[in-house]
C-alpha cells in the first residue's frame, strides 16, 4: 500500500493511503496516511453505513491540505470482539450416508445462492472450485484428515485457494441467513468453530502439518492465528 503511494506520488498524483495496521503504516510512512483502527478487510469501517464511510473519507481527503508528509489516526475505532460468533443455523442432516460436512455443504446450497444475490457475487466460491464442486473439495480434505497423504487426496488446486473457496461458500451462505452485516470475523468463527466443514478444515490443517507438508500449504488453510 505505502509502496504504491510513494510510486504514484512520484508520477505526479497526490495520494491518501488508508491503513488498518498501525505499525505498518507508521513504518512504511506513505506521503499521506490515515490509520484507521478497524478490523482487517474493512478499511472504510462499517458496511452499510454511508455516514460512517463519509467520515473516513472526509478525514482522508483533509490530509490533502497538509503541506508535508503526514500520518495521522482516525478519531473513531472499531474493535473486534474476539468472542462474537454469528448466530447462524446449519442445515439438518439430509443424507445420513454421506460425511456430515458434505451433507452440510449440500444443504447450504440454497442459502449460498441467495447470498450470491445479496453480495452480487463479490466474495463467493469460484476462484478454483465452483459452488457445485464444494462438497467434493471437502471430501478431499476429509481424506487428508483421515490420513491420506495430502498430495494424494485429490485436493482440486492449491490447498489455500481451495480452502478459501470453501470458507467463502459458507460465509456467503451465512449472509443470506442473517438480516444484517455480520460483525467482522463473526462468520469466520461460525465457519471454523460451529460447522462440520470447519472441523474438517482444522483437522486437515493439523494432518498436513503432521505430514510435514510445506508450511504455506497448511498454514494458509485458515486465518494465521488458528
Amino acid at each position: 500500500m505505502s509502496t504504491l503511494a510513494h510510486v504514484f506520488e512520484a508520477e505526479g498524483m497526490a495520494t491518501v493511503a488508508l491503513g488498518s495496521i498501525r505499525k505498518q503504516i507508521e513504518s512504511t510512512a506513505p506521503p499521506r496516511g490515515l490509520w484507521c483502527d478497524f478490523p482487517l478487510g474493512r478499511p472504510l469501517g462499517k458496511p452499510g453505513d454511508p455516514e460512517f464511510q463519509h467520515r473516513v473519507l472526509e478525514a482522508a481527503f483533509a490530509l490533502l491540505d497538509c503541506p508535508k508528509p503526514t500520518v495521522i489516526e482516525f478519531g473513531e475505532a472499531i474493535h473486534d470482539n474476539s468472542d462474537e460468533v454469528l448466530a447462524c443455523p446449519t442445515p439438518p442432516r439430509h443424507d445420513p450416508g454421506s460425511h456430515p460436512a458434505v451433507d452440510e455443504a449440500r444443504g447450504l446450497r440454497p442459502a449460498y445462492d441467495r447470498g450470491v444475490v445479496i453480495s452480487n457475487g463479490r466474495f463467493g466460491a469460484g476462484r478454483v472450485v465452483a459452488a457445485d464442486d464444494i462438497p467434493s473439495a471437502l471430501e478431499a480434505f476429509i481424506r487428508v484428515a483421515e490420513g491420506t497423504p495430502w498430495t494424494e487426496a485429490g485436493i482440486p488446486g492449491l490447498p489455500m485457494r481451495v480452502s478459501h473457496d470453501i470458507r467463502s461458500y459458507y460465509e456467503t451462505a451465512a449472509l443470506a441467513m442473517v438480516d444484517h452485516a455480520p460483525a467482522a470475523w463473526a462468520s469466520t468463527r461460525w465457519f471454523l468453530d460451529q460447522t462440520e466443514a470447519g472441523k474438517v478444515m482444522m483437522a486437515a490443517r493439523q494432518a498436513m502439518q503432521d505430514q510435514d507438508a510445506p508450511q504455506p500449504m497448511w498454514f494458509y488453510l485458515t486465518p494465521g492465528d488458528r
Binding site: A5, F8, E11, G12, P31, R42, P47, S119, R122, D225
Partner: protein, 148 residues
Amino acid sequence: MADSDIKALTEALPGESFETTAFTTPPPLAEATVAIVTTASLHHPDQDDFEVMDTGYRVLDDSQRDYVTGHWSPNFDGTGFAYDMNTVFPAERLDELAERGVIGRVAGQHLAYAGNQFDLSAVRMDSGPAGAKFLRGQGVDIVLLTPV
C-alpha cells in the same frame, strides 16, 4: 481468533524503504479527478484472477462495478466487502462526493493490486510505475489507496 492477533502476525513485515518521500501538491479537491487504487485483489469476473504472488494490476472500469475479490490470503474478513462494496472500494461514496461538488469527478478507471506480497521490488520498479502512468494518462489527480 482475534483481529488483533492476526494484525500482530503481519505488523512487523518489512516494507520498501524510500530515501526521500515524493510529495505532489494536488489541484483543489473540488476540481480534481479521483481514482481508487486498492490492494484487495479486485477484478472483473472476465479478467484473470490474481495468482499467488501476482505483482500485476487489473484495470477496474468505474461504469461496470461487478468487482470480485481474488485475494487468496485468509487473514481478512470478507463479509464486509460481500455485504457492501464500499467497505473496501468506496466508489458509491465518491459518486456522492462528486454530486455534492466536494470532488471534481470520479475517474473512469481504477486499479487493483494484490496486497499480500512478501517481495515488493516488482511493484516498486515495474507494475507500480506502470499503473501510475496509466492513471496519470487518464487525467487522475488524486488517488485514494485502500487495503483489505
